[in-house]
Symmetry: C2
Subunit: 460 residues, 2 copies
C-alpha cells in the first residue's frame, strides 16, 4: 500500500464521482468539489444531454465498484439502429452479434447513484456549490468560491484531479503556463433536445429497444428510450444557413420543417413547438490537449482532458475507461505520482485522440450514409466476414463498443478494413454475392496480406 494522500477532485459529475470511489477504495482521503448544487435536491440545469449510451467500457468501470447490476435495472438495452426514412419506412441495423447491446441510461440517475455511493464512504467528502476561481498549479493551491456564502476557501491538496468537463476550469488554469498544446474545434452543427412522451396508457410509442435515427443528409434526429416510457430526441441541425436553427423562427416554419422531414415523429411530439423554442441550442466541440498532468500534482481526466462529439456514444465510456486504466496502473504503483501521471497520459492520449476522430467520422456516417443502400449492404457483408473470420475481422463499431481494444487500435484497424472493403464491394451487388468464389478468394488473399487484422491475438 502506498502513502495515503489528500486528493481533491474538481467536478462531481459522472467521471469525478466514479473516480472518487476508485481512489477511496485505495485508502486516500478525497474531497469532491462541484460547481452546481446537489442534484439530489434540485432539478438539474438545462442544456445537458438527458440520456447517454453506456457500452462495454463503461460497464467494466461500473463493475469495478460493484454497481453494474444496480445500474442495469434502470438501463434500456438498444439492440441496433432503427432508421426512419422520409416516408416513415423503418429498417433495422443490429449493433453487434446476438446479445450485444448498448444501453440508454439517465445522466442524472447515474450521477445520483454514484454520488450516493461516494457519500457513504468515510473517506470521501462532498462539497457542492463550490466554484474554482483560481489555481496556482506550481504549489497546487486552489481557491474555491462557496456559492452559498460567497466565502472563498483555499485548499492545498497533495493531488488534484480536474474532472470538470469540456469547459474545465482546472484546464484553463493549467493552460496559463507555456508549452501546452491545445485545440478546440466546433462542428457547424448544434443540437436541441425534444421529447416523445410515453403513450397515453403508458409504455413506449416507438420500438423501445433501438436507437432511432432519422438521417436526412444535411441534418438528422435521433431518439433514445428512457425508462419511464418516453424518448429523448436530439435534433442535430446546422447553426446557420438556409435550413438551420437560425432560419427557423416561427411555429409555422417549424411545423413545415418537421412535417416535411420527420412526418412520423411529429405525430408523437405534442410539445414540439413549446420545447423547440424554450430549449437551448447546444454546440458540438472536440477538445484535445497535452499534457494532461502537471508535475505529478494535477491531472485532467474525462471530458476535461478529451471532450468528444456524441456521435459514437463514447464520451462517458471513454471517461470511465480513463479510470479503469488509471486503476490498473495503481495496481503496480511505486508511489511516484509524476511517473504515474506521465505514463498514464502517454498511454491514454492516442486513444483519446482516436475516439475524438471516430466520433466525428460517425457523425458523417449517421447523417449521410445510413440512408444509403450501398452502405447498408456493406454493413451486411462486414457482418458476414466477421461471422466467417471471427478472430480476424471484428467490425469497427464492435471494437469500439463491445471490446476493450484501444480506441487507437480500432481506428487504425478500421482504416485497413475500409481499404479491403473498397476492393471487395465492387464485386458485390446483393448479400448473396458474398458466397461467390471470386469474392471468397479475393477476401482470403486480402486478409492474408493484412496480418495485423487480428485484434485479439495481437493486442491482448
Amino acid at each position: 500500500m502506498t502513502e495515503r494522500k489528500n486528493i481533491a477532485i474538481v467536478g462531481a459529475g459522472l467521471v469525478g464521482s466514479l473516480l472518487s470511489l476508485y481512489l477511496a477504495k485505495r485508502g486516500h482521503k478525497i474531497d469532491l468539489y462541484e460547481r452546481r448544487p446537489d442534484q439530489r435536491q434540485f432539478a438539474e440545469d438545462g442544456g445537458r444531454s438527458i440520456n447517454l449510451a453506456l457500452s462495454d467500457r463503461g460497464w467494466r468501470a461500473l463493475r469495478g465498484i460493484g454497481i453494474e447490476e444496480e445500474v442495469r435495472q434502470v438501463a434500456v438495452p438498444m439492440h441496433g439502429r432503427m432508421m426512419h426514412d422520409d416516408k416513415g419506412n423503418l429498417s433495422f441495423l443490429p449493433y453487434g452479434k446476438e446479445g450485444q447491446f448498448i444501453y440508454s441510461v439517465s445522466r442524472a440517475g447515474l450521477t445520483v447513484a454514484l454520488v450516493n455511493l461516494a457519500e457513504k464512504k468515510e473517506n470521501v467528502k462532498l462539497h457542492f456549490n463550490r466554484q474554482l476561481t483560481h489555481l496556482d498549479v506550481r504549489i497546487n493551491e486552489l481557491q474555491l468560491r462557496n456559492r452559498d456564502t460567497e466565502e472563498v476557501e483555499r485548499i492545498k491538496p497533495d493531488i488534484l484531479f480536474g474532472a470538470d468537463g469540456a469547459y474545465s476550469a482546472v484546464r484553463s488554469e493549467m493552460h496559463k503556463r507555456e508549452l501546452y498544446d491545445y485545440s478546440q474545434s466546433y462542428l457547424e452543427y448544434g443540437y436541441k433536445e425534444l421529447t416523445i412522451p410515453p403513450a397515453a396508457g403508458g409504455g413506449w410509442q416507438l420500438d423501445k429497444n433501438a436507437l432511432h435515427i432519422w438521417p436526412r443528409g444535411n441534418y438528422m434526429m435521433i431518439a433514445l428510450p428512457n425508462i419511464d416510457g418516453s424518448f429523448t430526441c436530439t435534433l442535430f441541425f446546422p447553426h446557420k444557413g438556409p435550413l438551420s436553427f437560425e432560419s427557423i423562427k416561427t411555429e409555422t416554419q417549424l411545423f413545415a420543417f418537421f412535417q416535411n422531414s420527420f412526418a412520423d415523429a411529429i405525430l408523437l411530439m405534442p410539445d414540439l413547438a413549446q420545447e423547440y423554442f424554450a430549449n437551448p441550442v447546444g454546440s458540438l466541440v472536440t477538445i484535445k490537449c497535452f499534457p494532461w498532468s502537471f508535475e505529478g500534482k494535477a491531472m485532467l481526466i474525462g471530458d476535461a482532458a478529451h471532450a468528444v462529439v456524441p456521435f459514437y456514444g463514447q464520451g462517458m465510456n471513454a471517461g470511465f475507461e480513463d479510470i479503469t486504466v488509471l486503476d490498473q496502473m495503481l495496481d503496480n504503483f511505486t508511489g511516484d505520482w509524476r511517473d504515474l501521471f506521465e505514463r498514464f497520459e502517454r498511454k491514454r492520449k492516442p486513444d483519446a485522440d482516436a475516439i475524438a476522430d471516430l466520433a466525428v467520422l460517425n457523425f458523417i456516417e449517421m447523417r449521410d450514409k445510413v440512408a444509403d443502400p450501398r452502405f447498408l449492404l456493406r454493413k451486411k457483408i462486414e457482418a458476414k466476414i466477421n461471422e466467417k473470420y471471427p478472430h480476424t475481422w471484428l467490425p469497427l463499431y464492435s471494437m469500439v463498443t463491445f471490446s476493450d481494444l484501444p480506441y487507437s487500435y480500432a481506428l487504425e484497424t478500421g482504416r485497413k478494413q475500409d481499404e479491403i472493403m473498397e476492393l471487395v464491394m465492387p464485386h458485390i451487388q446483393a448479400p448473396e454475392d458474398f458466397g461467390k468464389q471470386e469474392v471468397q478468394d479475393l477476401l482470403h488473399k486480402l486478409l492474408q496480406e493484412e496480418e495485423r487484422l487480428k485484434p485479439y491475438s495481437k493486442v491482448k
Copy 2:
C-alpha cells in the same frame, strides 16, 4: 471609391504598420496602436528574432507601397544553404536558379522604415505604449491602457484589425465567444539567439551570401548575415532531455557541447557563454484559428491569425501576403466589409494552414536531412527535372519562396512530387544517372500521369 472608415489597427509591428500604409492609400483614417514603446527611441526588447528572411511574397507587398529598392539597400542576399558538417566541411545547396535569392533583413530596421512611412501619412496616427485590456467585439469597443499615464482610453472604430502577433490580445478577446476553432501546438524545441561578430578588420567571418546551417540530427544551429558584418545565430535545441537547454547548466558543459557539435563556429563566438546564459529561450508555436473575422467589424491578420514556426522563413512573408490578397480584394470592393472579410478568410485560411504545416516539415528537413547524401542527391535530381521540365516541375522550395502560387497548392504539389521521387530515386545512385534512358522514360511516364503538376498553366 467606397466610404472612408475609421480603422484601428492593434499592433505596429511589420504587418500592422505595412497594413496601415495600404489602407491609408485607400483614403481611410487609421489609428495604429502598439503595446511597446516607439522602437525608434528605445532599444527593442529581447527574445524576438533579430533578422528575418524576406522572399518574393514579402518583396511584392513592399513593392506595392514603393519601398522595395529602399529595403534592398540594407538587405543581404542569401544564395543558398551552406551546410557545416561536424568536421567543419562545407557544402552548398542553392535555393533556386541563378539569380533567385532570399534576403536577410533586420526586423527592427524594416519595422522602423515602415513606421516612419506611416508617420508621414496625414491619415495615419501612431499611438505607442497602448495595451489592449478589453474588447467588446459585438460593438467594436476597445479599452486601451496608456502605459505612460495609466489612463484607460475607450475607442470605437468602424473597423478593427488585430495585427498583434502570435500571442494576440485581440484574438484572445474575440476568442471568448463560442464556436471559435483554435489550436496551439508547440515543438519540443526552443531557440536561443547568439552572435558571430564582424571580423576584427570589419566584414563577415563566414560566406555572407548564404544561410549557414549546422545540422546535427536532434538539434541544429543556423546563422543569417547582418548588414554590419555580424551573423545572428539561432540554436534550435530540445527544451528537455539528456542534451537540452535544461541539461546545460555550466560554462564547462556549454563549451564541451559547442566544441563537440559546432567546432568551427565556436572559434568565431567570443561572447558565447555570456550570451548563452543571458539570452532567453524562445518557444516555437504553431497557432491556427477560425474564423479570423467577426461580423465585418474585426479581423485578425498576420501572426495573430496564423503563427508559424520559423523554418521556412515565411512568417513575415505570409503576413505581408495577407495584405497583398486583401488589397487585391479591395480593388473590386462593394463596401460590404462582412462579405469582404468572409471571402478573405475563406480564401486565405487553407494557405495559412499549408505554410504552417510546411514550416514544421522543413524543420525536420533542415535538422535531419540536409546532412544526408541521398537527400542532397535528390535535390540535385529535382533541379535537373526542373531544368528539363520548367513548366511542369517547379521544386517545392521555389513554389513557396520564389512564386506567388498559393501555399496550399505548393503543399499539395510537393506531395505529388514526393510520390514521383519515391519511384525515381531507386534508379539513381549519382547525378549522372539522371541521363539514363530508364530514368527518363519513367519520369516522362509519371509526369504525364500527373497532369496537375503544371503550376503556372493551371493556377495562374
